[in-house]
Every structure is written in C-alpha cells, then in structure tokens.
C-alpha cells in the first residue's frame, strides 16, 4: 500500500448542500471515494490509500486536473483504491462531486 495526500486551492466552493457522499467499491481496478464538506470554501484536500505502488506522479496529475476542472472547494476526498486506472479514478472523482452537489440531505 502507498499513501498520498494532496492539498489544492479551488477557484470556488462546490455547489449543493449535502455534507457527505460516497461512490464506488474497493476492488481490483476499482476504488471508493468518500467526499465530505468539511473544509474552508477555497480549499480542497485528497487523501489516498492505494494498493498500486509507484504511481505518485500519476495521482498528482490526475488530482490536479480534477481540481482545475471541477473546482471542488470545501471538499475533502478520502480514497481507498484497489489499483484503479487513472480514467476510473477521474470518473469516480467526478461522480463524487456530482453526488454531493445533488439536492438532498
């Protein structure tokens, strides 16, 4: 296992009011993303635990692009990864944002 933590400045606060959301399942080539609205509006944090060792640069690039594209301000993402491909990671991150921006509790 390898752990990473990334802090980013986001352009703006993520939409919606929901406090938490979760998407995905930890399995070979798959991951779960828990997202929580717990940070100041312009901050974004990603905590990653991954089974695939040696992909730090890829994670850095994927998460930087993700933050630039979705501006998930105020959100903390906690990821358990079973060795997913970067495209799956990007997709789950986007799904997590969509979910927490939905109306609901």
């Amino acid at each position: 296992m390898e752990d990473f933590s990334f802090q980013h400045r986001a352009r703006q606060r993520a939409g919606g009011t929901r406090q938490t959301a979760i998407i995905g399942v930890v399995a070979s080539g798959n991951l779960e993303v828990l997202v929580e609205r717990v940070l100041p509006d312009v901050e974004c944090q990603l905590e990653i635990k991954t089974a695939a060792v040696g992909f730090g640069e890829v994670w850095n690039a994927v998460t930087a692009d993700f933050v630039a594209r979705y501006s998930p301000g105020g959100l903390k993402f906690s990821i358990n990864d079973g060795g997913a491909r970067p495209d799956t990671v990007s997709l789950r991150l986007a799904q997590a944002v969509r979910l927490i921006e939905e109306d609901g509790q």
């Binding site: 640069e57 491909r85 799956t88 997709l91 986007a94 799904q95």
Partner: protein, 560 residues
C-alpha cells in the same frame, strides 16, 4: 533459358509428372490402411507414416478457431526416424501438439500467422532455436504463399462430416479449409480429413470428394474455442465512454456503413450501444450496416433492432449456430441453412470492401505503430493487418473513403486523390494492471533486436492508422500535417501515461482548436453519462433473451 525444376530428364525423355507420380505413390501407400478412403482413427499415425515424407511441407489445420486435433496427435506420434524435418505451413499454432512436433524433431521449420494460446511457448522455442522460423504472416499473406512458394505436400484438415466418397461438410467453421485444399489438391498434394462423423449424405458439399484422399472418423468433435464471445457483464464504464466517443466522433461524421470490428471489449461496447446510444443519435441506417465479422454474440441486439443488413464471416462462434440459421437474411448460409464462413474471402472483403477497421491493441508508439507483441509473447498477426491497412489496390469510391482521403490530402486534385480506409485504434490509456497503452518504444522492436529479425512484428503501421480513440478523446491523424503534430496528437489522447504527461500542452490545445483532437466535451459527451445501463445487453443472459432463445452460449459464459 529457364530450366523448370519440375522437369526431370530420364535418359532421353523428359517427365513433367513427377509431382503427380509422387502423390500417387503416397496415396498408394496410404490406401493399404484404408477401406475406400476411410482410415480408422487407431491407424491415423500409420497413415501419417505412410503418406508424409521427411522434409515435406505440411499444413496441419490449425485455424483461428477449429483444430484438426486428432490428426495433430497422430502426426505427433509418428516415428521421427521415418517422418522428420517437416516444414509446417499453417495459419494457427494453437494446440500444444503443434509445438510438440518441433520438440520431437518431427517438424523443423515453421511459417504461420497466429499463435494466440501458444504465444509464450513459441517465443521460448524461437529463442532456444527449436524452431527454424520462416516468417510470421497475416492470413492473406500466408494463404497467398500457399499458391506460390509454400504449397503443402500434405494437408491435414478438419470437417464436421464426410460421406463415403469423401465429400466434406465443414459446417459453420469452414474457415481456412477451402483455401488449404485448393492449394494442396490441385498441386499434387494429399488431403487427409478428420471428420466428426461419416454419414450417408452430407448436409452440403463444402469440399468435393475428388479433392479429398483419406478420411479419419474422430471419436470426439474437433476442438473449437469460443474466441469472439465477450461477456457484456465485464464491460466497464471506461470502455462505454470510448465506445460513445467512437460512435459520435467517427462512425457518425464519416457515415461508416461497411466495416470490421476487432474482438476487444471496447468494440463489444460499440456493438451494444448501437441500439441505445446510436438510436438516440439517429444513426440507424446510416452507420454499421455491413460487416466483415465473425458472428459476435454482442451484435445480436443491433441485428434484432434492425441495424445490420449483412455479415460475412471468417469463421463461426460457438453457440451461434441456431441464431445464424434463423437469420439467413443477415449471414451467409448454405442450402442446408448453416453458416458458411471462409477466412480468405472474408479477409479480402475486410481489406477491399470495408471502409473502416476498428480494434484494440496492446502498445502504440509515438508514430502510431502498434503491436500486440510483448517481449515474452509472439502472438502473430492473424487478420488484423489485412483489415487495418489501406488497400492500395482499391479503386471503388465511397463516402467515408473519399472523406478520409480528402482530410489527408486537402490540396490534391479530387479526381486523382486516393481515398483512405479508416483505421481506428481504440483502447483505454492504461490496460490490465495499469500497463500503459502508449509507449516510447514498442516491445516488438526490443524483441526483433533480441531475435535478430529483419522486421519488427508491427501489427498496424503508423502510416495506416487514421484515428486513435481513448477515454481522453479522439485523435484524427489524417489532419496532422507533419510528424511533430502527429506525435502531439497521439500524446494528446494518451492521458496520464508517461507519453501523455510528456505532451506539449499548448500544441495539444492548438490541435484541439483544429479538431485534430476532440475531447468528450467537444463532442457533447459527458463522461458521467457513460453508464452500464446504456448497454443494450448487460449479461450473456440478456443476449440469449435478445436472440429469442436461439443463442446457446457455451457453459463457461453462463451464470444460470
């Protein structure tokens, strides 16, 4: 003056029938074991020893799918003192016995096209010098050489049934048989067929009796592997996204109606999206109507929804027999109702009569060359290069072909301009175990260096590739004007691979302005919409339902 090597001077007379006489002698030797043409299975090895001579070129049918397994075991069991040094000329090296022949010294030299399941062992044996390699071919190439310089002395083939005269019914998996028999029987070779059963009357005559010299009845049916069944349950969201990009970004703008699909999950996803996503885009009747394609079960929903008009097949697929029989408007069938496949014709159709090939690969380099070779595996080429190559001899126009040609050469005179076949590589930027699809140097080149090959085993050359589709978008290489643009276009869809991260962001953005690269958002596709609920079938069972119960999947694909 050119001396014919076939003519031999005996005393004062010249004989031109040396081959015929040798063939007659072989048949004479084999006939001692036969009743008419029928040889008992237990005598099959003795038949080999009687008919096959040291150094012969032998085609042991070895197709992509069906295997003359009884005859390969029989040949393997010969006394190497009697039969040795054979030169095997067969399209598929599939069974372990095919390589055991070389270990035993029965065979020495090999010319082939495809070695899927034996790809690792064949690599080891080449390294170890156990096999003297002629060349690795594409199917059409090897078939062509059967008629020029690799004509078999003996062909060992497989058929479903035979009558006592030797008329053969090859069934849905006709595959290579007519080609092999044509080359062998009409050039003084001996044809030996293993059949599942001997019947009074064959359902249809695929091979006429006068081309068949011996028949062996096998105890169990010849082996056929279901190679073209893709379980929809295994299709991922990423593959669905790439499939959506391909449909909207390539099929639609070029209006591709005549095409061939590879066997990967991405193309299976395309097949399963036609009746749903394709329908929503209003593309029915405008794309994907005529195929050179094996009977892919994944295409059933599109067929049932009226998308497909006609399919010609290289081989068949396990479990599809009844469905094909009931859909003769779509497939090529014989008077008996069952599929008639033919690899040589279908490969030709894929080369000349299709406007697009789309398939996946293991590695793509910065020039767009692609290969399925890794340093420890030599899988051969099969048919993909025939599909995935521009046919320079093509002369008939079609809209996609002309449009692609125009994009490649916008300045040229329309009347003189060649069209271009669309050759599309589709895949995810990372494959199994996070292995990148894009690389700086192909493993194929490393392998060629290690083996001292004259040519690296390139599946599809970069100059034939017109588009690359990944989850990052569609790269249209036809619109690239130089090698630098081409490289950046490839890097631009290579995602987070090292190749992708090494892109020139500014140049990639400029290429995007020119539609050389089209991102999902440029095509109006939201990656979040790529959902398995879009698939017309999400399981093998769904495919059975679509087929009205006619598709009978093999046991390994069932979950009921």
């Amino acid at each position: 003056m050119l001396m014919s090597t076939n003519a031999e001077t005996r005393g004062t007379t010249t004989t031109w029938r040396r081959g015929r006489e040798a063939r007659d002698a072989r048949i004479e030797a084999g006939s001692r074991l036969a009743r008419g043409k029928v040889v008992e299975a237990r005598d099959a090895t003795r038949l080999m020893e009687a008919v096959v001579r040291p150094g012969d070129r032998v085609c042991l049918e070895g197709d992509n799918q069906k295997q003359a397994d009884l005859l390969s075991s029989a040949l393997l069991a010969v006394d190497p003192a009697k039969v040795n040094g054979l030169h095997m000329v067969q399209s598929g090296v599939v069974l372990p016995e095919h390589l055991d022949l070389f270990d035993r010294g029965v065979a020495k030299r090999l010319d082939y096209a495809y070695s899927g399941p034996q790809s690792a062992r064949i690599a080891r044996m080449l390294f170890g010098g156990k096999i003297e390699l002629g060349a690795v071919h594409t199917y059409l190439e090897l078939f062509a050489r059967y008629f020029i310089d690799l004509t078999p002395h003996v062909a060992l083939i497989a058929a479903v049934s035979a009558d006592r005269e030797g008329n053969l019914y090859t069934g849905p998996n006709t595959e290579d048989t007519p080609t092999v028999v044509e080359a062998t029987a009409f050039k003084d070779g001996v044809v030996i067929a293993q059949v599942n059963e001997i019947v009074d009357r064959v359902p249809r005559v695929d091979i006429p009796a006068d081309r068949v010299h011996f028949i062996v009845e096998a105890e169990k049916p010849f082996f056929v592997e279901p190679l073209f069944t893709r379980d929809p349950a295994a299709i991922t969201e990423g593959q669905i996204l790439t499939a959506m990009l391909a449909i909207k970004g390539i099929y639609a703008p070029y209006g591709v109606q005549r095409l061939n699909h590879g066997i990967g999950f991405s193309t299976a996803a395309i097949e399963l999206l036609l009746p749903t996503y394709g329908e929503k885009l209003g593309l029915k009747g405008k794309i994907a109507s005529h195929f050179a394609l094996n009977p892919h079960p994944a295409l059933i929903p599109a067929i049932e929804s009226g998308w497909v008009q006609q399919i010609h097949s290289f081989g068949s697929e396990v479990g599809m027999d009844e469905y094909i029989r009931a859909r003769s408007d779509i497939y090529f069938t014989g008077p008996d109702g069952s599929l008639r496949s033919n690899r040589a014709f279908c490969q030709t159709a894929g080369l000349y009569a299709c406007d697009m090939f789309i398939g996946s690969t293991l590695q793509i380099d910065l020039q767009g060359n692609s290969s399925t070779v890794t340093t420890s595996r030599i899988a051969g080429f099969g048919g993909a290069p025939n599909m995935g190559a521009d046919a320079r001899g093509r002369r008939h126009p079609s809209e996609p072909w002309l449009k692609a040609g125009g994009e490649a050469d916008p300045q040229g005179s329309a009347l003189l301009r060649r069209g271009r076949k669309l050759v599309v590589q589709i895949g995810e930027t990372f494959g199994d175990k996070n292995v990148p699809l894009f690389v700086e140097k192909l493993d194929a080149i490393t392998l060629a260096e290690k083996l001292n090959l004259e040519l690296a085993p390139i599946m599809i050359y970069g100059d034939d590739v017109t588009h690359i589709v990944t989850e990052e978008g569609v790269a249209n290489l036809l619109l690239c004007r130089d090698a630098v643009e081409r490289e950046q276009a490839i890097r631009g869809v290579a995602g987070y691979t090292e190749v992708g991260r090494g892109r020139d962001r500014n140049m990639v953005e400029r290429l995007r302005q020119r539609d050389v690269i089209r991102r999902p958002e440029d095509l109006g596709i939201n990656p979040l919409d790529a959902d398995r609920s879009m698939l017309a079938a999400r399981s093998i069972k769904d495919l059975v339902h679509w087929s009205g119960g006619l598709y009978a999947p093999p046991s390994k694909f069932r979950n009921w």
